[in-house]
Amino acid sequence: MLGIGKHRRCRKAGELLSPYLDDEIAPKDRRRLSRHIAECSSCRRLLTNLTRTVDGLRRVGTRPT
């Protein structure tokens, strides 16, 4: 799946970030994503920012309405 050109690898990785955060990703995809993240700084930054986004949403949820 990620054994393709960098642009497509990044696009595929982007699609896997959300399920990765929810731990709803197949083990095979997790391994491939982890490998890609280790070597791609832009996807690493995307993952960091997506993590912070979701963390922010969860904290918004604890705010009284």
Binding site: G14, E15, S18, P19, D22, E24, L46, N49, L50, R52, T53, V54, G56, L57, R58, R59, V60, G61, R63, P64, T65
Partner: protein, 193 residues
């Protein structure tokens, strides 16, 4: 029909059975138990207090009308929440414009998250940015994100509440989160700079 007095807390199932048999007090107890959480959820969806209250009222009326058809295949809370979400969706479609003023008083409502003044400022600023970005998402994406990330429902529960498959829920969630992350990019860039 015996009505409910003081005593041990009855389960939703027991209250539903009594309400189906015509016990108004049992339905009122269900309404009291589940209306506030539903109102909070619908407020997150609509970001409009009045719209959320209206949708809860519609949900209560609808639940009362259709309680006889409730077969208990899902929990009462799930069934009631789904009715509320549908009512809120109808309201949103009617309004078709839920843009809010980005200058509203979000900052005032956001509690402190850290002990250091800088952390407090950072958290307030960041959460306000998250909230503003959330408001700007399309309804379907916002609802998926609110249910899953803000309210903390599981993928399975959120999909059930929306009456869609888990795959569709995940797709909306992914698109919603990605759109939010993109909207917050400036904020992240400022932090680095």
């Amino acid at each position: 029909m015996t009505t409910i007095g003081l005593g041990p807390r009855l389960s939703d199932d027991a209250l539903v059975a009594r309400a189906k048999a015509g016990d108004d007090a049992a339905f009122e107890m269900l309404a009291e138990r589940h209306s506030t959480p539903l109102r909070r959820l619908l407020y997150r969806m609509t970001r409009d207090c009045e719209a959320a209250k209206d949708a809860v009222q519609e949900a209560l009326a609808s639940a009362w009308r259709s309680l006889g058809r409730f077969e208990g295949r899902s929990r009462f809370s799930t069934w009631f929440t789904r009715i509320g979400i549908n009512a809120a969706y109808s309201g949103m479609r009617r309004e078709n414009e839920l843009l809010f003023d980005p200058q509203d008083d979000l900052h005032r409502d956001i509690p402190d998250w850290g002990n250091q003044p800088d952390e407090v400022f950072e958290s307030r600023e960041y959460l306000a940015a998250v909230d503003t970005a959330l408001q700007q998402l399309p309804d379907d994406y916002r609802t998926a994100v609110v249910l899953r990330d803000v309210q903390g429902y599981s993928t399975e529960e959120a999909a059930e509440l929306l009456g869609i498959g888990q795959r569709a829920l995940k797709s909306r969630l992914h698109r919603g989160r990605t759109a939010l992350r993109a909207r917050l990019d400036d904020h992240f860039a400022e932090e680095v700079g």
